[in-house]
Symmetry: C2
Subunit: 239 residues, 2 copies
């Protein structure tokens, strides 16, 4: 069984960088070492699939890759043949619902875990790559048939993780409070809070923090813990 090759970005946009630019080296490493020339793009998280595809094509063309949209033909056939997946951000509920409705969720899972096809996810595309979408920040604009997701990793991620603003007078829950509420639910496991600019690289059973900033890990019953760029988080496969 080939090793899984997964790169999960907290976000595609980071303050001060162009679209995907902050993660360019890690994205290129992922695709180059797998000899990828064409990427299958999954635009389901936004409404305008063609517009989203054009935006992504433009960036990847500069970097030397061709991009196909999964919505342009039979999605299952496209997923079965893909050399690499990129699942973009937008609304996580809409994305997950479309993955189910188009019957590609299990196909993507199988191709990444069994065939070693590289998977790049950003924001909502990171949420759906984890165990479930229980820790998305998005508004539940549509009702998916389940919150269970592609499960390329057996834990949860909170993308766009934000620290509490000490000056805020707002009374809505902080991000940390929301994650801790989730972890009161029976069966809830670890949640990795990926700040914007943070990414997670999974190569087989090795998990490494990448990107620009520290990340914050929540394990039920433990104090939240900060991990530096470069930290080995492989233990999350066995928590």
């Amino acid at each position: 069984m080939p090793a899984r090759q997964v790169l999960l970005l907290s976000s595609s946009k980071v303050h001060g960088y162009e679209y995907l630019e902050y993660a360019k080296d890690d994205i290129n490493n992922l695709f180059k070492k797998n000899n990828v020339s064409t990427i299958l793009f999954v635009p389901y998280a936004l409404k305008d699939y063609d517009g989203y595809l054009r935006q992504v094509e433009e960036v990847f063309a500069k970097w030397g890759y061709k991009v196909n949209g999964i919505h342009k033909g039979n999605p299952v056939e496209a997923a079965e043949k893909a050399e690499a997946f990129f699942v973009g951000g937008g609304n996580t509920f809409q994305l997950l619902k479309e993955l189910y409705d188009n019957k590609v969720l299990q196909v993507i899972r199988k191709r990444v875990l069994n065939d070693g096809i590289p998977y790049l996810g950003s924001s909502a595309g990171t949420n759906v790559a984890t165990k479930s979408i229980h820790t998305t920040n998005d508004m539940p604009i549509v009702y998916p048939p389940s919150f269970e997701a592609i499960a390329l990793v057996p834990f949860n991620i909170n993308p766009h993780y934000q620290d509490p603003d000490p000056d805020s007078t707002h009374k809505g829950e902080t991000r940390e409070e929301r994650i801790l509420q989730f972890q009161e639910v029976s069966g809830a496991g670890p949640v990795l809070g990926l700040r914007e600019g943070c990414t997670l690289l999974i190569e087989g059973d090795k998990i490494t923090l990448k990107g620009l900033h520290k990340s914050r890990l929540f394990i039920p019953g433990k104090e939240p813990q900060e991990f530096d760029v470069g930290a080995d988080l492989s233990f999350l496969l066995n928590v």
Copy 2:
């Protein structure tokens, strides 16, 4: 058919006020004119039902009301006999799931719409009083059997509504962007953005904005519009 009597708060806590204090007069008006002496409290949005009940009891005791917890006996019987409902905030997904699991959602709907039993909701308790929970800000920590809610009104509310922060470098969607994404979904209707400190009073077919601040109304296909405290929003029953 008696007129529905519903008061929906954006939040229970507002900066500079004690719990529920900013809405004390409107809450008292609602309960006094309906000769309420005992309130049935629904604590399902938080995990610690008894602790939540004690907090609410303490406040309402000062104002001269007795409070019962719906979780203390048979929930359906309690809802059938209630003089008034208060559904508190916390996590909207958990609240809605418990309303379904305890089979009280339709009972509350019937008692408010048919019997004129007053309903006070705050935050998550406001979300579940509307058409659906599609416009909650909460994290989807549990999977409810549906996003359809009690539907005391035929539109959606976004509680804790926040204006974009012009100084923010964060790349997650603004609240307005999230609401507009929802309204791209076919069948989505009006969404009232209730800032913290804003409340909505529904008396039969009359809807009035109350509280401390303006509110922002999103109607699909129209520019968002601001409404002052005191504005008549009864037209939302027919949009």
